[in-house]
């Protein structure tokens, strides 16, 4: 009986804490000082409701809707935060949909938004093929369509594309690593989920650079599915293999941080350099702490801002370029602090 009561208490506590979490975030939504992070938490909290509306300052009736693949990492949170800020700055209403990585959900959400009379949409596509029919349907209804971050298989179906180029990002990072180790030596790659667009593109960039460096050998490469702990484990095993590794080049910061921990644990931090991509706050901090040699950003803020601008331009009849590629920035100890401050503000 005691345990039964205890169990009930636990359930109620959990339920209550979940409710208060939502409540406090909703309150934060109304304040102007709220940060990207708490906005993101709010978006997550409202996942169930699927859509979040917020009033714009100028009171325009037209809504720009953003369709995200998911809202569960810093990249997607920063991107959607930048879109929201710019959409509101341009005087439109903003709403965001979270597809939870499911293409069918995203298509349903796009169709639903069109039915609701949304005039402009920005899509971060779950699937490069899967969303194309929904994009065409939106165009037929006269909706302005901007694709962000990942190009769809038929770019002409949408009005324009704003994003980084995964291969270019991979090239910039690999070139930096190759130069740092003096153009020769052994490298190991930590890859994203095999077959994902990010992995394929970034690996292509790595390979492009390696053609110019015949003295660099790839001694290991394997996926850690963007995850920190699996990357830590794989790196521990690599370091135990007896093969010399000069640099570990990771396709995201999360895996790079795991690799750096394994390198530090093995007391090899002065010999093995670790590189990451995305310039997340954690990655930048690791660069400042000397754990990572460098991280390359995909211009996340710019992608969000420029895609929102393109969508607003389309609605206002201003011509936009069919393709906007944002610049990558390489962060080392010299310039990481600035970027970190910008994220934290």
């Amino acid at each position: 009986m005691m345990k039964k009561a205890l169990a009930m208490l636990v359930v109620m506590t959990m339920g209550f804490s979940a409710l208060t979490a939502c409540g406090s975030n909703k309150a934060a939504d109304n304040s102007t000082t709220d940060t990207t992070e708490s906005k993101a938490a709010n978006d997550n909290a409202e996942k169930e409701e699927d859509v979040k509306e917020s009033d714009s300052a100028s009171g325009s009736d037209e809504t720009i809707a953003l369709f995200m693949t998911h809202m569960s990492n810093e990249f997607t949170i920063t991107l959607s935060g930048a879109v929201e800020a710019e959409v509101e700055a341009r005087g439109y209403k903003y709403s965001v949909y979270d597809a939870g990585q499911d293409v069918a959900t995203q298509v349903d959400q796009i169709e639903q938004a069109i039915t609701l009379g949304v005039k402009g949409i920005i899509i971060e596509p779950v699937s490069v093929d899967g969303v194309v029919p929904a994009v065409r349907a939106a165009k037929e209804e006269g909706v302005a369509v901007v694709i962000v971050n990942q190009k769809i298989s038929d770019p002409s179906a949408a009005d324009c594309y704003v994003g980084a180029d995964a291969a270019t990002t991979g090239e910039i990072l690999m070139k930096k690593a190759a130069e740092d180790i003096g153009g020769k030596g052994n490298v190991a790659f930590l890859l994203g989920p095999m077959g994902s667009d990010g992995q394929v593109g970034r690996s292509e960039g790595f390979e492009n650079v390696l053609k110019d460096y015949p003295d660099i050998n790839v001694v290991f490469q394997d996926t850690a599915e963007w995850q920190t702990e699996p990357a830590l484990t794989i790196t521990e095993n690599w370091l135990n293999s007896g093969k010399e590794i000069d640099a570990i080049v990771s396709q995201n910061d999360g895996m790079a941080v795991g690799a750096a921990k394994a390198v530090a644990d093995a007391k090899l931090d002065d010999r093995v350099k670790v590189y990451g991509i995305d310039a997340t706050s954690e990655g930048l901090q690791a660069v400042l702490d000397g754990k990572l040699a460098a991280t390359v950003s995909q211009g996340t803020e710019d992608q969000g801002k420029l895609s929102a601008d393109a969508c607003a331009d389309l609605l206002e009849g201003i011509e936009v370029k069919a393709e906007t590629i944002v610049d990558n920035v390489t962060y080392t100890k010299d310039n990481a602090q600035e970027a970190l401050d910008a994220i934290k503000k």
């Binding site: 039964k4 959990m14 990492n73 810093e74 995850q227 920190t228 702990e229 135990n240 007896g242």
Partner: protein, 320 residues
């Protein structure tokens, strides 16, 4: 009657014997292929360390599976308890024990919700733990704001960073939890009751076992081990990641099943689970060192799981 029992015993021995043979064959083969890397003492200790998180989780999973249930929420629980522990470890001056207790409390609380759902609400274990798996992942994302919680106290990192007599402390946690689990399962009334309700719930009820309370306890224990695993993952990676532990419940289930514990409950030996967890760690470590892609590792793991379950079914068919 006696004869039948002996027969049953033999089949169990045969099954566990098979896993021991498989394990040692694999280790010896890898030692021959890679004498200068895999076979080094430093690497063998490394394997023990890497088996620890999954091994600890497998101990909890073993209780649930022997009782005839399943827990799919363990991976998400690792994320939530890790995030909560990291949030505590972020606060300067807060003793590290607070982070430890917070992680354990989160784990036990999730386990209690599962146990309550199974025992008192009558939900199938697969369904209620699927529900908590989804919900707890969402909660971890909300609590962490969607990105890893980092910048943690050194004392928190030291929870997994130390060595005792050359053995990583992570492995020592693992050994201690294994010994406790083995003792509870084989030497206590509680342990025998876990087997009893997994073997035949109705009979167990008739003999006066409080089946509901037992189930609540078993799931809470499993949640507790997930809380420990979450704490250790967070300390090892020096961050609380809301996406950590994804799929870890499947590795734990695999370790239990490979170890010869029947998915239908009521039978299996605790040391089978340990061999199962070590076997999985040996496969990843050995193949990583040889530079074999994890795509192949997945295939090999899949085959081993299928063979283990086949042996389980064949053992049961003989029994009948």
């Amino acid at each position: 009657m006696k004869n039948k029992n002996e027969n049953k015993k033999k089949i169990l021995n045969y099954r566990e014997f098979g896993i021991f043979i498989a394990f040692f064959t694999l280790v010896i083969v890898l030692m021959i292929i890679s004498p200068n890397a895999f076979a080094k003492p430093r690497n063998l200790i490394n394997i023990l360390k890497q088996a620890s998180v999954n091994g600890i989780l497998s101990c909890g999973m073993m209780f649930v599976i022997i009782s005839g249930g399943i827990d799919l929420s363990a991976g998400s629980t690792i994320a939530l308890s890790g995030v909560v522990a990291a949030l505590c470890a972020q606060i300067q001056g807060l003793p590290v024990i607070v982070a430890v207790l917070a992680a354990l409390a989160v784990g036990a609380a999730v386990g209690a919700v599962n146990g309550f759902g199974v025992a008192y609400a009558g939900l199938p274990p697969f369904i209620i733990t699927l529900a908590t798996m989804t919900g707890i992942r969402g909660l971890a994302l909300i609590v962490s704001g969607g990105s890893p919680v980092y910048g943690l106290a050194k004392s928190f990192e030291n929870l997994t960073n130390q060595f005792i007599l050359g053995i990583p402390i992570l492995a020592i946690y693992f050994i201690v939890i294994v010994l406790i689990s083995g003792f509870v399962l084989t030497k206590t009334v509680f342990g025998r009751r876990v087997y009893a309700i997994g073997g035949n719930e109705a009979t167990a009820r008739v003999t006066g076992i409080n089946v509901k309370r037992m189930k609540l306890t078993v799931y809470t224990l499993c949640g507790l081990t997930a809380g420990v695993a979450g704490l250790l993952v967070a300390s090892r990676t020096v961050q609380g990641s809301p996406t950590a532990g994804d799929g870890y419940e499947m590795d734990a289930i695999a370790a239990v099943v490979i170890g010869g514990i029947s998915m239908s409950g009521g039978s299996g030996k605790w040391y089978g689970t340990i061999i199962g967890a070590l076997l999985l760690a040996v496969i990843s470590n050995g193949l990583d060192i040889l530079g074999v892609s994890s795509n192949y590792q997945k295939i090999i793991k899949g085959v081993i799981i299928a063979v283990a379950v086949y042996l389980d079914l064949r053992g049961k068919a003989r029994q009948e």
